[in-house]
Symmetry: C2
Subunit: 368 residues, 2 copies
Amino acid sequence: MAGKRTRKHSLVKRLDIHDVARHARVSIATVSRTINGVSTVDKELARRVWKAVRELNYFPNTHARALVSGRSRLLGLLVSEITNPFFPELVQGFEEVATQRGYEILIGSTNYDPERMKDCIRRMIERKVEGVAIMTFGIEGPLLEELAQRQIPMVFVDAAPQRALMSAIRVNYRQGIREGVQHLAVLGHRRIGFISGPLVQRSAEMRKAAFLESVREIGCDPPQEWVIEGDHTLEGGVAAMERMLQLPEIPTAVMCSNDMTAIGALRVLARSGIPVPEKMSVIGFDDIHLAEFVYPPLTTVRMARSSLAKAAVEALCCHVETPDQEPPRAVLAVSTSLTVRQSTSYAPSAGQEESATAINVGRSEKKQ
Amino acid sequence: MAGKRTRKHSLVKRLDIHDVARHARVSIATVSRTINGVSTVDKELARRVWKAVRELNYFPNTHARALVSGRSRLLGLLVSEITNPFFPELVQGFEEVATQRGYEILIGSTNYDPERMKDCIRRMIERKVEGVAIMTFGIEGPLLEELAQRQIPMVFVDAAPQRALMSAIRVNYRQGIREGVQHLAVLGHRRIGFISGPLVQRSAEMRKAAFLESVREIGCDPPQEWVIEGDHTLEGGVAAMERMLQLPEIPTAVMCSNDMTAIGALRVLARSGIPVPEKMSVIGFDDIHLAEFVYPPLTTVRMARSSLAKAAVEALCCHVETPDQEPPRAVLAVSTSLTVRQSTSYAPSAGQEESATAINVGRSEKKQ
DNA sequence: TTGAAAGCGCTAACAC
DNA sequence: GTGTTAGCGCTTTCAA
């Protein structure tokens, strides 16, 4: 009931640019210029403005700024689901770099549901994001159109449509996968299988291709049955490994397209009484937080998701801040490298000497 | 170089309320009223407005709305770090409920760094959030003042300062912890230890208190040395369990204040050749994603973080939407319950009969 | 170099 | 019931 009501909607007068101007005995234009770092402002006036800002504890209203400047300083981040262990590190990196550059981030989780994805896109458009990073596994074409129509820059992973304002971050899958395969080779493995992700996904396909190249490089050519399609889930890993164990001949090492798949595979092996790594080595991909804690701790190819995030923010900002020149459409930005833990060891039948020889031939593997 | 430049800043004219009004042959006020669901609008005109909105694919500009209405429809969410496995589920729940209610969420990770926390608070103030959920483990008083000064509602977990616009979500720690202790009792355990969190944290203290009450309830009173202070990290769990194993007498079961602590404890036990659960049972708390995947899969007390998030959003919205009546300061909203996995079993020396008897006496434990 | 004033897109008071 | 209009807080001409 009490309280001085000096505005329609609120009980307290909110500080605005006029208050600062009055306090510093200048015009609001000068306050605005000072805060925005326009160089023509007189030193003395600028000093007074900053003093007033400090004393009054003034923060500019971003909505007003956005309205007049047409720049929201908002970036959208579209992910599949935050609870998927792949994403938290990505979100963290994205937030860090974006806020550093003065952007705020709007997160949308699609939960693999086209309706929710549509909703996320609507929210982003309403809030006038200046760019969107599409980090979901797959996206509906028509929804992209919504963004494209509004000239909103987009960045993708691996591959982007060939259009203006769209770019892609490239991940160097080969690098880490090759390291993983060489690591196995050094340990004497020659019979190496692979459980892929869903091959409709570009990144899953690229990982598989990188694997095949790498095994051929060490002179192996695994039979088709040793290359099984999974779906990047734990259950998929379980199913794939079960199929593999039914084969008349099984490999001594299996590489997986992501860690969840590898963890599923590990489960089946544990259940089947096949000790890892003694009877079979397993390598994952991604290096999610979990990988370190499963049993045995998973040897895996690490993809630095914070670099991915950083590259995405930069690509977006590049579009926004230099709208005239078309930026490079694809940035090779993210490297991968092997993290050796305890799910890999010597091939069961490989003699000690053979391995020792191989070690000298192989390349060293270390964490990046 | 081409492109029709109809505005200062952009190459494309952005759709606004005037375009819709023109298209529907009504005034902008009618468009605004229609979109905001004001009931006095003529049916026919409303129909025309909606048609125009659809045809033009119009989305209102939230910045303009925020500016004039004083309502940003933005909620702040302050967390310690998104990569801490405790948080993703919380963030997901928060996003889900907030967007359902038409709010957008602004995430800030403090990374346990006061400077970054300060930065997060600044960002939230600049963007004019209508409320902030403080989900960090601890916060600096002066920073709260910044928000309080600006009449921004806040919601905390467990305990909030006794002030206007601040409320707390209460977690029913006792419920789940009691279930856990009873579960151990049923399995014949009488020698039960506890590794707490950092006791400066209110929630850690509450968990410890709940544990002590619960063990006393089953007629046990563990010696002081069996109640060790950890710090809710894996390393803390390692250190605490190492200390415990040095004791002349060790318990047959240990409850931990959170899952990371339990995972640390599990490591030490594995290293020391003490099989879990045969020689020692371990129970965690939180039920983070990881718990299911460690070896052995961790029996743990689940706290539904999505309910926590939901309660937080509701408390905040309650403040915002009915500013006159002071809402309940504390909401008992989050229940906990036991999830039994494989890190718990019969007490080593307990006879079969004893356990069997106990089973009938004890309460059944199931997932909620 | 500075200040006055227009206007960003919208909501809400007020007049009809 | 509908339209006209005055701002919301800011940036950015434009004139001085």
